[in-house]
């Protein structure tokens, strides 16, 4: 199997507090990897360190290795390029207060694309890939803030796709959405994995079983178990995993 990203013996500290303890997970290419676990277990922290969003946090210290296509992402790789290759969708939909078109064009423009024709094409393609083209094609010049929460989140996915990333990180992307919007986004994710490697943090275990290929279970900063999703949920090797997925705690 081809590994797109590798997380090797990562320890992460917020000042004195250790948020991740010796975590090792290989991330398979063009698959969906789910991180599950109770709040505060470190799964979001790990996700954010995969495109160095933790750089913004004061006192955050990371040890170990994280690789993208075998290249050390903390070793001299340009952060802006890393974030172009490893895109992110956030927990709360966060479209910029500009038009739908400009929201999508923001990323490509950032990376130097100026031609109107090229931008038009990227906007259309991104919106189509995020399955929101039909809802937006007649109102591209309208503000993105006028859309519903679910539409906004799909717009944010389109925005992440606009810079043609290789990996997409999703931090509980449906936790602020209603069941119908959630369903649409889950459908979308299964489409996305044909082209992209997807890593998703979720609180919703049903969601993990529905969409992910492999699942990693986190507890108190430790990666307890990583396996094929079906195995994790039907036949967990660790007692702690079993306790969590059967609802004994968390």
């Amino acid at each position: 199997m081809n590994y797109k990203m590798e997380i090797n013996n990562v320890n992460l500290f917020y000042d004195k507090f250790q948020a991740l303890k010796d975590v090792t997970i290989p991330i398979a290419e063009k698959q969906i990897t789910a991180f599950i676990g109770p709040s505060g277990c470190g799964k979001s922290t790990l996700l954010k360190s995969l495109n160095r969003m933790n750089d913004l946090i004061e006192g955050c210290l990371i040890k170990g290795k994280m690789l993208l296509d075998g290249e050390d992402i903390y070793g001299g790789m340009n952060v802006d390029i890393l974030r172009k290759r490893v895109g992110m969708v956030f927990q709360k939909p966060n479209p910029f207060s500009m038009s739908i078109y400009d929201n999508i064009a923001y990323g490509p423009r950032t990376h130097g694309i100026r031609s109107k024709a090229a931008l038009d094409e990227i906007v259309e393609k991104s919106l189509k890939n995020a399955a929101i083209w039909n809802e937006t094609k007649d109102r591209l010049k309208k503000s993105a803030l006028g859309m519903s929460g679910g539409q906004q989140q799909r717009l944010c996915i389109a925005r992440a796709l606009s810079v043609s990333p290789e990996v997409i990180l999703m931090d509980e992307p449906t936790s602020a959405l209603d069941p119908i919007s959630t369903g649409k986004i889950e459908e979308l994710m299964s489409e996305l994995k044909k082209e992209y490697t997807v890593i998703i943090v979720t609180h919703n275990m049903q969601q993990a079983t529905r969409i992910s290929d492999t699942t990693a279970f986190f507890l108190l900063g430790e990666m307890v178990e990583h396996n094929v999703t079906r195995e994790i949920f039907s036949n967990p090797k660790e007692k702690r995993t079993e306790d969590y997925i059967t609802g004994r705690f968390g």
Partner: protein, 296 residues
């Protein structure tokens, strides 16, 4: 449907009975209504007095291009006021906004330097304007420009409005949710692009409010300008010469040794009305712009 049919309608009699049962709450009600009436009344009396005394004396000769002791024209002062506002903003706005951007976006949170800068701006805001005037007089008039000058006045006023601009811009920047910054960084945008394209546009209404507040301060300032920009009643040929703004013009009219004559006083009232109108205009314009920007 008539009002009395509405189930949430309480008839006056019933209300009165309620109040009579609780005399303390009736007393408090009268007290708060009284306070509101006094506040509105004071403003009404002030404005009324000013308008009644001033408007009849707004005459064409007050708007002649050149000031003479015969026409007591305020036109040069109006022009000077605009010059002073633009000059001061040209100095204070770039410095103020840049400082605020540094404080919020670049300086590490909890940094020692930041708390020192914050303390300094707060102190600056609390200094009486006459003290600024004295400082400006010593530095700009005696050391740099050798005499009263518009530019000296503008520099002095810049120091005065800087804290306003820094504080309001800071507040505006802080109010921009981190979500938007993360969204921009997440797409591979750098800090500069994130600030100029995402953060600043979002914070613009707040920043604008600070600038408007500053304009009000500049238009209304007298004490600091007496010592720095001086009181020459004409439009100066160069920014290094003296020129009086509208509020200084008003001050000088009243201060004039011949002032207790009607002519000077009437001109002063008329000037006050124009000054007031100017400030109201600035405020209206600002709220209009702020609404336009935030509704976009």
């Amino acid at each position: 449907m008539s009002k009395s049919e509405a189930i949430n309608y309480i008839p006056f009699k019933q209300k009165l009975r309620g109040y009579l049962k609780h005399p303390m709450s009736l007393f408090l009600l009268i007290l708060v209504i009284g306070a509101a009436v006094i506040t509105v009344g004071l403003v009404a009396i002030l404005l009324g007095h000013l308008l009644i005394k001033g408007i009849p004396h707004i005459k064409p000769h007050l708007f002649e291009w050149k000031y003479t002791t015969d026409n007591l024209s305020m036109m040069p002062a109006i022009i000077n006021t605009f010059i002073m506002v633009i000059l001061t903003l040209l100095i204070a706005v770039p410095v103020g906004i840049s400082s605020a951007i540094y404080l919020v976006e670049y300086a590490k949170r909890g940094n020692k330097v930041v708390s020192v800068i914050r303390l300094t701006t707060e102190t600056l805001a609390g200094i009486p304007s006459i003290v600024f005037g004295l400082f400006g007089f010593i530095v700009f008039n005696t050391m740099i420009f050798k005499g009263y000058s518009m530019i000296g006045g503008a520099l002095t006023l810049s120091m005065m409005v800087l804290p306003i601009i820094i504080r309001t811009t800071e507040e505006a920047l802080i109010s921009v949710p981190d979500l938007f910054r993360e969204g921009s960084f997440g797409l591979g945008a750098g800090k500069l692009r994130t600030i100029t394209r995402i953060v600043l546009p979002y914070a613009m209404p707040g920043i604008l409010a600070g600038i408007i507040l500053s304009i009000g301060r500049i238009v209304g300032e007298t004490a600091a300008l007496i010592f720095t920009a001086g009181t020459i009643p004409g439009v100066p040929k160069a920014l290094t010469r003296s020129g009086r703004t509208l509020s200084l013009h008003l001050f000088e009219l009243v201060q004039n040794p011949q002032a207790p004559t009607d002519r000077y006083f009437n001109a002063a009232y008329a000037t006050a009305v124009v000054l007031l109108a100017l400030v109201v205009l600035v405020n209206a314009l600002s709220s209009f712009i702020a609404k336009k920007l935030s509704s976009k």
